[in-house]
């Protein structure tokens, strides 16, 4: 059974059509890549799925339940967590407190929240930085903190929005390993990523957006050969 179903979702902002009639499904246990040029509407898809914006049209189902129209916190409680492309750490709180705050969603007391947080911080290799105020964290670690926080809510589906952007090569390797480990824990992942090599190597399946519309869907191999996709990316490379 599919974990998430996005059915003919559109989202308009004033006169702009950010997402148009997009449908796809995510199966439990897989890693689904979402790619597309800048402004293609990828982040907007996340925002609709996560409840930040209600869809202008269409519906979203999670574990068979219709979640479109629910608030983000209700959707998170149902087991769907996300990270933000533009990181949003709780600036004046330490790394540990950031994660503890999220862990309280499932923990019944402070002690349990601490245990969850410690586990997640170890898992994301942030434990040594736990007492750093998150405002002072370098970008690479702030991106990882986003992941750690989302994990602390113990989700079944994790949406990652460009978690690798701006990382140096060694951080990149570390983060890829973390994503693989998350999958091993049985968490389903949907990931937006620009880095083609990365997305091709970790995704089980890929959905491609261009100008708000889905133009292709398939295995990394199929997507790599799809002329529409190649054109969309070449087009971007030329205009850039």
């Amino acid at each position: 059974m599919s974990l998430l179903e996005v059915k003919k979702v559109s989202r308009f902002f004033g006169g702009i059509t950010a997402v148009k009639d997009v449908s796809f499904e995510i199966t439990k246990g897989e890693i689904l890549g979402l790619i597309g040029p800048n402004g293609a509407g990828k982040t907007t898809v996340f925002n609709v799925v996560n409840g930040f914006y209600p869809p202008s049209r269409g519906e979203v189902f999670f574990k068979g339940e219709r979640i479109s129209g629910l608030k983000p916190h209700q959707i998170c409680q149902r087991g769907l967590a996300r990270t933000f492309q533009v990181v949003k750490p709780l600036q004046r709180m330490s790394v540990l407190d950031n994660v503890v705050a999220s862990a309280f969603l499932r923990a019944k007391d402070r002690k349990e929240a601490d245990t969850i947080a410690a586990d997640v911080l170890n898992f994301t290799a942030l434990y040594d930085d736990r007492n750093v105020i998150s405002k002072g964290l370098p970008l690479g670690k702030r991106k990882r903190l986003e992941i750690a926080r989302a994990l602390a809510t113990q989700p079944d589906l994790l949406l990652l929005d460009e978690s690798f952007a701006g990382l140096n090569p060694s951080e990149l390797d570390e983060s890829i390993q973390i994503i693989r480990n998350i999958k091993k824990r049985g968490i389903t992942i949907m990931i937006i990523e620009h880095h083609m090599k990365v997305i091709m190597s970790i995704s089980d399946r890929i959905v491609v957006l261009n100008y708000g519309e889905k133009i292709a869907e398939g295995s990394p191999l199929e997507i790599g050969k799809n002329p529409l996709v190649v054109e969309a990316y070449l087009g971007e490379a030329q205009s850039a």
Partner: protein, 313 residues
């Protein structure tokens, strides 16, 4: 040592009346403690949860009028205001929260400010209910001596301090600060921001209402201009915390000491009396520019300024 400081301070305060302080000094002490309570209450909502209220006079006034009207309408002791105000203030806070909490940041601040003014105007105009501009006078004062008033407000303050600490160190506190730091992030981490902001508002309002109940019983007279005052209640509340230290446990206490002493000092010099808003305004401006997190919050900055500690490497 640090762990016991609260108990030591509390113990010393409790012993103070034994020194046989004169009535004026007791009055100052009582005011300081009362403003500490209001400051701690405001800090919970605004300092920790980030929802800056410019209208705490609404809650103070509703508390004060709950006590006053129990006396004037039902003929029972104003002290019953303590239990009664919990419900009355909470209901008003729910209403204000429903209207104002849909706004964010400075817009919330101004909406609460308007609420404070609405409450004053309504209290002035609903003469049949509140007695209007004439106010309410409590004729039979409970005690002449100030000692018992002192102990009552001290107990309220100690309970408030304990509550704030417990709340801030619990899940609730984490959620409050998360909401202050980033409401969108908090929401997407599963925090029902509306619910927790409402909880912060109600806690803060009820405690402020307690201060109002105490005020009625202690002063023996209230009217809408005094208890719903914008400058002399709502803005002073903000100043107490801004001066002392936003989102610190002791900030409101330090702020209350400074503000009450300052107000008394200004009042005692007739020439300065008329300029007291100018002095407060200038103090507010100076604090915001140089010590934006207050004396307790920016203590390390202060120490550096006065050469007590070398700058951190």
């Amino acid at each position: 040592m640090k762990r016991y400081i609260t108990y030591i301070v509390l113990g010393l305060l409790a012993l103070l009346p034994l020194l046989g302080l004169n009535s004026y000094l007791m009055h100052i002490l009582i005011l300081v403690i009362m403003w500490s309570v209001i400051g701690m209450a405001w800090n919970l909502l605004s300092g920790y949860c980030g929802q800056v209220s410019f209208g705490h006079a609404a809650f103070f006034g509703v508390g004060a009028y709950t006590a006053g009207m129990l006396y004037s309408k039902l003929g029972i002791s104003g002290w019953w205001g303590f239990p009664a105000s919990v419900f009355v203030v909470a209901v008003f806070a729910l209403g204000i929260g429903y209207i104002c909490l849909r706004l964010r940041g400075p817009y919330f601040a101004l909406a609460t400010l308007s609420m404070g003014v609405i409450f004053r105007i309504v209290a002035e105009n609903l003469v049949g209910v509140t007695g209007g501009d004439l106010g309410i006078m409590i004729r039979e004062r409970t005690w002449i001596d100030k000692t018992w008033y002192f102990y009552i407000i001290l107990i309220v303050a100690a309970a408030t301090y304990y509550l704030v600490r417990k709340v801030i160190e619990s899940k609730l506190g984490y959620y409050f600060v998360a909401i202050r730091e980033d409401q969108d992030a908090a929401e997407s981490l599963g925090i029902n921001t509306t619910k927790y902001k409402t909880i912060a508002l109600i806690l803060s309002a009820v405690i402020t209402g307690f201060a109002g109940v105490f005020y009625t019983n202690y002063m023996g007279y209230i009217d809408p201009k005094v208890v719903f005052a914008l400058h002399d209640i709502s803005i002073i509340t903000i100043m107490v915390v801004m001066v002392g230290g936003v989102a610190t446990y002791w900030g409101p206490v330090v702020g209350a000491i400074i503000m009450v002493l300052l107000a008394e000092a200004i009042r005692s010099i007739p020439k300065l009396g008329t300029a007291h808003h100018t002095l407060f305004g200038v103090l507010l401006i100076v604090i915001i520019i140089f010590l934006p997190n207050g004396i307790v919050g920016d203590f390390s900055k202060l120490k550096r300024l006065f050469g007590m500690r070398r700058p951190a490497p």
